[in-house]
Symmetry: C3
């Protein structure tokens, strides 16, 4: 009897020992290693997004012939001012917690939206004014994020926008074209924006960098198990918009315009953002086809009319690449996602657009206080020529 | 007695509980997390391959002076038509299963082979004909994949071709030069293919993008434990071909030709494909040195003779970069891999070459039905000039 | 009684079976899978570093107008000769062990340092002399690594230099400018180094590639749990140096010089290397701001004076981008890292600088034995013009 009791005790002790030393402990170690590994995978996507921000957006904007070095310098400065600012505002302690890379990716999203906004006024403000634009933009962007993404005020409800069709692309575009109202002079309306064969190719380089890394943008904060599905969706949407762009560009213009290819080919990435982790693969491709069509139509037909109507210049045509396809993508979610609350989704879009317009008008005025370019789309007044 | 029985039962229950809740469960959770993580790592490589397809192949082909925007547009279109097509043909349900990224990478391999084929006829077909080329190419490519890689008909046996020396590079090159027979006019034979200092640098940019990401191409579907070894092999092969290209180019031409560097430096990547996970590191470097030598010799000596003999133009010299080094790599496996069935390997090469030639001849005729460029290597008839 | 004993035995057996088959075994499998996964993540960073070496350094050096294809060819050759050489010297068996990717990343670090050194003499040696430079440089670099990083001779003690501010950047820069003493003719001192708008943009492209992937360089061999913190630090330092560069460039020159942006914006990455895994985030940003200031001051003010004083030309200004910010970063560690042994850190810096100068003087003489360029900063004597 005693032996048995003793044996049983020893057995129990062994079980507990084995369990605690190898079971629990091992499990904890593994769990923390897996959590580390997942964060490093997030960081890989953060690097991809950074390639999009600097090389992608930067070179896409190099098409303006006499303003290339300014476009690149502006990109450098906009990224360098907005990332620390976002982290600082969000932060004050956040950094010390886990999820550091997640915070950083959210900051990159803000920088992306800012670069879109800047594209609308590119070439018509002085270099240091891009810094002011960044300082003004980020707080408004974060306010919109707070209301629409975090639903901090319990006002909008659940908005589907994983890849930022609404809060990144539409917000940036609407802010930009609203800011352009204060930042376009009558004179600016008459100056042509020149490009040539070399600058066009730089533009396509930027476009391709954006295209290639776009899935990492949309899947940046998606749970690990949903990433493969999401990235295939993003690629299919981009294939769709690229094909549509070619056909619509030929149809509407008679010949292909390489600027259409460089820009509208990306519209699928913009539009799929809201539904990238929910759309079926065929739906993703259809969203891409429609987005490419809408965007090319915007560049070929709407842009002139809109510019004349609002008396603005939208240098990079951000309303066609980010504005329309972004809104389209946000609306598409209502038809694509099962069980979506359409009211919340519409509220999210409406709040974003209103806030973008209001803050863009204000932001434009603020930036305008700090001066004007001497010569639009030409940076010789600000850059020293090399020896 | 009773106490003991009860104790034993409780103990058993505890064991089972502990085991099932933490052991099995934890193990399953971990296993599925690890499987997710591995798939995300595959996706990282899928992104690298996409950078090669768009930026790499795209800019490598920009060297043709008056055809740069067409080369880039063609690249965009070829990728955008072939990926969904491959997935569609393969698919119809495949997407819903696991291994989605694996399917996508196989589709990217098909797109790579197509871009190689297109390189042979670049500049002599109209933009929409690249789309037709893609539609024609992919089914034949998939048929060859079915026969040689999957050994679906139990005809060839085991063929070693992890990185696609045979089924991607040789197939694409042979298809392309066979298609060129129908797609080269007498007139084309007399028009020089012009390049200049700027377009040459774009070409090197494309080349460097290919060089840098090549290990991800070869290791894309390799089991995780073999990846480190494989990627070091690919880098060593590329170092070998780069060094060989410089010396052979100076030797054969008197001076270096930058086009040799941009192209033949990559031959090591082409040739190591068949043996990248088996060759020893010194073997990998030697395969690279030989491949660089063969490729540069092809560009400097063979290309002219071959073009005159077949009365074709191979715009990008794909037979020298992908054809010869690919076949060389496939054959090298016979000497490098222990226990390889040489007959199967030779059968795999033979089937690939025959199928590529037959389908290339047919494909060229089909594409030729849809018209002709108005002016070879000049795209002004198809592209609208910017304002 | 018997039943109980039997039951107990069975129970024990079951425990052991369960434990060994699922506990230990599963744990081992997981541990080895996790180790594989971590090595593949290292390889991702190895690819990023390779993008920096070829595309980053390569295109950063394309700013020299008539020497672009040489700069790119030199980059190709320097990388292709130094990687296998480093692995060969280190190796002889190393390859077969685990940690293959770690070895490869160390080889890439050597190649980075070599590319820095080559930047100082760019345009004044013949193409094959870059190969000789590589053959001479790597053994000295490895000797310094042995003394300072591995503390093989127990001479310096623990030196903090995770991202290579000291042993990669300072060493390369000092080696380069010392080698320049033998590799600058009187004639060279009078030839201007021309650049233009197109080559400037290539230079910014290289710069952006370096900027984007720099965190992977610094975090390449950092333990997985420290990577997120480290990469945010590196990005903050780069933001700091980019902002500082713009303001200091305008302040010192009256206008911005795009070459300052392309170069000094990276100084934060150089300087943060020594403390990237220890500095607080605000410290990282301050180190970046100071490094950008120092570097721009170097380019705008010091370079001319130094070149006249030493009668050398430092083509790429490596002493301003890598020399000064590297030393500054190494020294900053003394103020930033708790419990650092300042004497060891200073010894590490001193040994590196002395060894770099001595080996650079020797290396320059050795390379000079093999000839001279016919015409500085112009490669028409060595490159064949395209048809």
């Amino acid at each position: 009897m005693k032996t048995h009791t003793t044996l049983l005790r020893i057995l129990s002790a062994v079980i507990i020992l084995l369990y605690s030393s190898n079971g629990l402990l091992a499990q904890n170690t593994d769990a923390s290693q897996i959590s580390n590994i997942l964060q490093v995978q997030q960081y890989e996507r953060a690097i991809h997004i950074m390639a999009m921000l600097l090389i992608g957006f930067g070179f896409l904007m190099v098409f303006v012939k006499k303003y290339g070095r300014s476009a690149l310098t502006a990109t450098f400065l906009l990224v360098s001012v907005s990332l620390p600012l976002y982290l600082f505002v969000k932060g004050l302690g956040v950094f010390e917690e886990r999820g550091e890379i997640e915070q950083f990716i959210l900051a990159e999203f803000g920088a992306a939206s800012l670069l879109i906004a800047a594209g609308a006024v590119l070439g018509r403000i002085r270099i240091y004014q891009y810094l002011i634009l960044g300082l003004v933009f980020i707080p408004f962007y974060m306010l919109n994020e707070l209301i629409v993404v975090d639903d901090f005020f319990h006002f909008v409800g659940k908005v589907y926008d994983t890849g930022g069709s609404i809060v990144i692309h539409s917000f940036g575009a609407l802010f930009g074209i609203s800011a352009a109202i204060s930042l376009t002079t009558k004179q600016d309306l008459e100056i042509p924006i020149e490009s040539d064969a070399t600058t066009d190719k730089y533009s396509v380089l930027g476009s391709m960098v954006l295209w290639v890394f776009w899935p990492s943008f949309c899947a940046a904060l998606v749970p690990v198990e949903a990433i493969p599905y999401t990235v295939v969706n993003v690629f299919l949407a981009l294939c769709g918009s690229t094909l549509a762009t070619y056909f619509v560009s030929v149809k509407l213009r008679g010949k292909v315009l390489i600027a259409d290819i460089a820009n509208a080919a990306l519209a699928g990435g913009v539009a799929i953002g809201a539904t990238c982790d929910f759309a079926s693969h065929p739906q993703a491709m259809i969203i891409g086809l429609l987005a490419g069509t809408i965007s090319t139509f915007g560049f070929a037909i709407l842009q002139d009319k809109q510019q004349k109507f609002h008396k603005i210049v939208d240098t990079c045509g951000v309303s066609n690449l980010h504005g329309l396809p972004g809104i389209f993508g946000g609306l598409a979610a209502i038809f694509v996602i099962d069980g979506i609350d359409a009211v919340s989704q519409l509220k999210g879009i409406a709040v974003t657009l209103i806030l973008a317009v209001v803050s863009g008008l204000l932001g434009g005025k603020l930036v305008a206080l700090f001066g004007r370019t001497k010569e639009a789309y030409n940076d010789r007044a600000e850059f020293k020529d090399a020896a």
